[in-house]
């Protein structure tokens, strides 16, 4: 990227007069983390990612405003700090992945005990009637049938809703003609 000799070199930073080069091994920080770190600092500097994303990447760092109080060296160091920041974020995301999935399933499909049913719900084999008002044959999708024989209403009825306030009862059932009003 540059044939000049650096003015100063330490850790993974080579400092030149107008720019700094930060070497990042992709076995330590993958490209996604490098991109996130650079994106986070793009209001302070310019970042050019070079090198091999499978081996070693070299990030060229330049100050946006040469009169700013932040020095080029500080910006390069801040980039290193951001690499740690996003690496930790990815580690935490991997650790909490299972919990997030359980919470999402519970939110979408009902109570935690219904999660087993949610897992058995094959999202890849949904019929077209689930996403549109008509089936492939042009018939109306009144019965809300998924995958031949499984009725959406049956699935919903099988959920054990906890409704102590009675707010899940439809208005028609509660105040409709049958109730005498």
């Amino acid at each position: 990227m540059s044939d000049e000799k650096p003015l100063q070199s330490f850790a993974n930073i080579d400092l030149f007069a107008d720019f700094a080069l930060v070497k990042v091994n992709s076995k330590i920080f993958p490209l996604s983390i490098v991109v996130s770190a650079a994106y986070d600092l793009m209001d302070k500097g310019y970042f050019v990612i070079d090198g091999d994303p499978e081996k070693e990447m070299i990030v060229e760092v330049r100050l946006q405003d040469s009169n700013s109080q932040t020095s080029l060296l500080e910006l390069a160091k801040e980039f290193n700090n951001q690499l740690i920041n996003y690496a930790f974020y990815e580690i935490q995301s991997a650790r909490t992945k299972g919990v997030r999935e359980v919470i999402t399933r519970a939110a979408l499909f009902g109570q935690p005990e219904d999660v087993e049913m949610a897992e058995s719900f094959d999202t890849d084999n949904r019929s077209s009637c689930e996403v549109c008002d008509t089936t492939e044959n042009g018939d109306n999708c009144e019965s809300s049938t998924i995958n031949d024989g499984i009725d959406v209403d049956e699935i919903v009825d099988s959920f054990d809703f906890d409704d102590p306030e009675g707010i899940a009862i439809p208005w028609d059932e509660k105040y409709g003609k049958s109730s005498g009003e």
């Binding site: 091994n25 801040e78 740690i84 920041n85 580690i91």
Partner: protein, 82 residues
């Protein structure tokens, strides 16, 4: 194995097939990044170097070095690493 080099109020710690997991080192440095300039570089997640430099030049890097390993110890105990 660990190797450390102190220079100009900075320290570089070399981790080579050490007992410390890479993920926990990242977690400690994430806590240190508020008060220190930190970096991880090297070959891979078992052979790497950690750079620590206090942002406040009057702070002693040897204290940061000691706190770094104590924090790491705490995380290892919490993670129940045997």
């Amino acid at each position: 194995m660990l190797h450390r080099t102190f220079k100009d109020n900075t320290v570089v710690v070399t981790f080579k097939d050490s007992v410390y997991p890479f993920e926990l080192v990242v977690e400690v440095l994430n806590e240190f990044k508020e008060s220190c300039w930190v970096a991880i570089y090297g070959e891979d997640q078992t052979n790497f170097k950690v750079y620590i430099e206090p942002k406040d030049s009057s702070a002693n890097v040897e204290i940061a070095y000691g706190e770094f390993f104590n924090y790491l110890l705490g995380l290892m105990r919490a993670a129940d690493i045997k």
